[in-house]
Symmetry: C2
Subunit: 273 residues, 2 copies
Amino acid sequence: MAAAPIVIDDADDPRIAEFRDIKERDLTGRQGRFIAEGTVVLRMLAVAHVNDGDFVAEKILLLRNRADGVSEILAQLPDDVPVFIAEAEVLDRIVGFHMHRGVLALGRRRVSATSLIDRLPETALVLVGAGISNHDNAGSMFRNAAAFRADGVFLDETSCDPLYRKALRVSVGSVLSVPYERGGTAEALLAQLAARDFAIWTLSPRGETDIRSIPPSGRMALVVGTEGEGLPQEILSRFRSARIPQSEGLDSLNVATATGIALFAMSSAAGRI
Amino acid sequence: MAAAPIVIDDADDPRIAEFRDIKERDLTGRQGRFIAEGTVVLRMLAVAHVNDGDFVAEKILLLRNRADGVSEILAQLPDDVPVFIAEAEVLDRIVGFHMHRGVLALGRRRVSATSLIDRLPETALVLVGAGISNHDNAGSMFRNAAAFRADGVFLDETSCDPLYRKALRVSVGSVLSVPYERGGTAEALLAQLAARDFAIWTLSPRGETDIRSIPPSGRMALVVGTEGEGLPQEILSRFRSARIPQSEGLDSLNVATATGIALFAMSSAAGRI
């Protein structure tokens, strides 16, 4: 049962302070809190919340005329999650820009007792990102991981937090559904995965194995680096590398698209799709 | 031989008027003129220009401290293409925002005497976009078409012009290297392609044929629709449809990524990559 909506008519109301100027600053890093934006992401957050997943909805802020449109989603949430509504003029002053979507939630990530690497199933496909600092690319990578049934995403400490508002939005909420962990160096992460019998495949335009010829194995990890630079040589020389066959040219595929194609090929090889 | 650079110290100088406020307005549609941004796109424009391709460089505008970095590219252009340079403060006033890249060109598309459909080789792979209005997606689709060696891109009249500054930038200049045509209805376009022996494959999450099982044929066309809505039912029911196998869920892959995967699969099937 959703809470009865509370009308906000003052942008300075402390009850909605977390939604202030969300374009200029990001809550990420403040005790795992984040802003979820749009109906699709709200729905994913509600699903995680009611299933005791890794995420909790703390409060909702809606444009008044959007409240009816999301009532079905809100009905799933318990009534201790407050729902605030505001007119467009007030909402725009709260968030600091014109907000035509008008659906916002404050969420929090729960700290998991066991690390993701120890929770992975016996047969698993994971995605590892090193230096993925672009929020769009991070979001798209989660979307692709969800589409091709990856069991988890690992991001090194130099990658951005996928709970950034834009990454989360671009992921169409997949950041809330695909288990992930972020932190540590890519080298340490890959050593841990290798020790747990993962076949590690780095992706590079100059990779040795055609992505269509990767042999299937029970546990597979795809490793992608930042656009432009790619993966550091230390990583490329330590693990097997795969390439997506394509035109020779100055610029390879966008990292998000390349990740999608590689996950498609690996998920195909493993018989997962 | 490049022209000797001309210093611009007044943002209102009529010689660089086309670069004024480029964020707010777009030249597209004005006799095929467009703004190319960044070193990579400038290089593609210079290549098209000197090879008598579909595009001509009309003038160049650079941040003073970027001029050395692109001198090799400019040296390819004839000296009747003027090169203007400006300090950061002047350049920012010209373009209307802070321009840290500092490499701009005014280009023009030449009108081709013969239509693209009549210039396609006997064995061909083409991409058809219907209702691709998002500039990012349009740009990414060209990048994917270039990576997987498509012979051409057709966009219907409801798709955006790929020469929009952002589409061109996201394409990393592929809009200037992959032949394309834009206009007409998708239905008319597909009828023309079918009449020229193209096997038409529409892409849809509910497509009948797994994209990995498309039979190769000499001439193949991949048809993609707008994100969200997808292709209209009239088109889906008239032609064969393909799907990318993926998780069931509310949101399918991003249209750019889906196009990349489908082109990868079709180009593989046809033995082109």
